[in-house]
Symmetry: C2
Subunit: 341 residues, 2 copies
């Protein structure tokens, strides 16, 4: 990471973590599993509810929200409740996603449902969803005008609905044979882009920016999220193992319906016949990658990623933000788009 970004991270992260700890009562006063399950998921306690400090995500979304607030002329501390709310919302969705995907581990640790059972994990996610909202209402305590808080909460919940629409589509696609590229783009918009759009939007809204400027911050986040996902899809097939930490062509092995695959399936009959076979057999991955390349799927996805990335940076410029926070925000965007993070 570069200088401005590093400085802001060092300043913002402890304040953000404290804001979230306050909301989840992670001060040791509530050592029962109701609070403990959520604190475990956040990485603050182990499965015995003893203090721990483990990797629990990079907190990119909330930092983006805080940087947007500062870059738009506000004081990032005023946006802390919104940043905490966004990170808690993201984590609520992970608790439920892990149940829905039957994932036994996340970031090297057992998932909440794996330890406490599906029933309690559903309820724990619900609690964190409610607490994410309570986090938002703390904006009032930091002097944000009531009308702004109401607007922020409305956008927060419209985003929640879009998130669950994305998750609905993601699960629906797994059960379906045919998924169009357009349907896929709408799905990742819900699963990834809308929440990052919200980061930019709420930061600028709390800073008191003009409607047009707020919209540019929202579009910046939106396109950043979308580009990030498309790049992820490309790396899932053609990625460098060292960079991704996964074995190459993972998404081919698992037959994941990502953008390049859906594009390839629409273009190439041989690929469609290959994917129609129940068993891939020897050389499945090599053949599939060859057919994808032949269909122009890599070029298509790369062009898409480039165009959407450019749009993100265009919206960032259109905010007319200057100063160290704007520099840091651009650095964060570039780092995410280049996976140099």
């Amino acid at each position: 990471m570069t200088n401005e970004l590093t400085n802001y991270f060092q300043e913002m992260l402890p304040a953000l973590e404290q804001e979230m700890r306050d909301i989840l009562l992670a001060d040791g006063t509530q050592p029962n599993p109701f609070w403990g399950m959520m604190q475990y998921h956040m990485g603050w306690v182990d499965s015995e509810l003893q203090p721990a400090n483990v990797n629990s995500g990079k907190r990119i979304r909330p930092i983006l929200c805080l940087l947007a607030c500062q870059a738009a002329g506000g004081d990032w501390r005023q946006a802390l409740p919104a940043a905490a709310a966004i990170e808690l919302l993201h984590n609520f969705s992970l608790i439920h996603d892990d149940i829905e995907d039957a994932s036994p581990t996340r970031r090297g640790r057992a998932t909440v449902w794996k330890i406490w059972g599906i029933e309690q994990a559903i309820n724990s996610g619900d609690s964190m969803f409610a607490l994410a909202h309570l986090a938002m209402s703390r904006l009032s305590d930091r002097g944000v005008a009531a009308a702004v808080v109401v607007q922020a909460l409305r956008r927060f919940d419209e985003t929640c609905v879009a998130l669950t629409q994305g998750q609905y589509a993601d699960m629906d696609f797994e059960a379906r044979d045919e998924v169009s590229v357009a349907e896929y783009m709408a799905m990742i918009e819900g699963k990834t882009a809308v929440l990052i759009a919200l980061c930019g939007e709420l930061g600028a809204l709390i800073a008191g920016a003009d409607t047009t400027v707020i919209e540019h911050y929202a579009q910046f986040g939106h396109d950043l999220g979308l580009a990030f996902q498309v790049i992820d899809d490309i790396l899932g097939i053609w990625g460098d193992e060292v960079l991704t930490g996964k074995s190459a062509a993972t998404d081919i092995v698992t037959r994941k319906k990502t953008l390049p695959v859906l594009y390839g399936l629409a273009q190439n009959d041989d690929l469609r016949r290959l994917y129609a076979q129940a068993e891939g057999g020897d050389g499945f991955v090599e053949t599939a990658v060859h057919l994808l390349n032949q269909s122009g799927a890599r070029t298509y996805a790369t062009d898409q990623a480039a165009a959407i990335s450019q749009s993100a940076l265009h919206h960032m410029e259109a905010t007319q933000a200057a100063g160290p926070a704007a520099v840091a925000l651009r650095q964060l965007a570039n780092a995410l788009l280049k996976r140099d993070f």
Copy 2:
């Protein structure tokens, strides 16, 4: 039902239903399962997503909210978004409860998870949770001041957290041998009382009542909910089959840890020994009821129900509400407490 209450129900119910239909896009424009699952749960469509009109609950909570608003000097139409939000919140919790309790049916129909699977049902509940919040933000559209909306949303989410705490405890108790009467009362407070308290509180808050009056409405709802649950517990053992629609002593057969049972277990060694046996055997129900009567459990629970009911009616009087809405509110309370509804 008596006159005033019947009149208000006839006036309020269609308006409430329309408010909820607007939020869940139940106008036929979104015939896909994402919206359809929620519309099915609400009783507006069948499992094929074709229009239906089935019993989907008595809507007692939202009507209580609307009556409280009117009785406290407001216009009930202004409270419609809050009433809709409370009913949607209640229904979100039912969708998740049905998964957590593995209940295949509700009100004579298959549950959402039974038709669309656990994964989609978890997500559908999450969507309805988010939409309940969006319903709340419509208060602004009806001219409720932003500061009041923020306060209402904060109380809404504090209530959501308490609800999930109650649900946590309920599931936790099933896995435990010993549960105290105090723990049980705290659990039903979360599962039942806090949401009915919120009905009274938000109604009075939106009406612009004084803090003291709002607090009396909240306590009225709280005690009403608590008394309702304790009466339910009594009926679950000594209830008239005709009145309850369940076979007598259902809660003994299923060994449900309700208030009379927990009181009896704490008082009576013979009952504790009986419940410690894995198999009840012949005469289990009769012996259990006999020992419960001997331990004074029925008297204890009946006294509790009477005291809490009296407290509810005391708080209703303390609101100093007059006029037809106040009459209707008292009628509703009495009907609930006498199960004459």
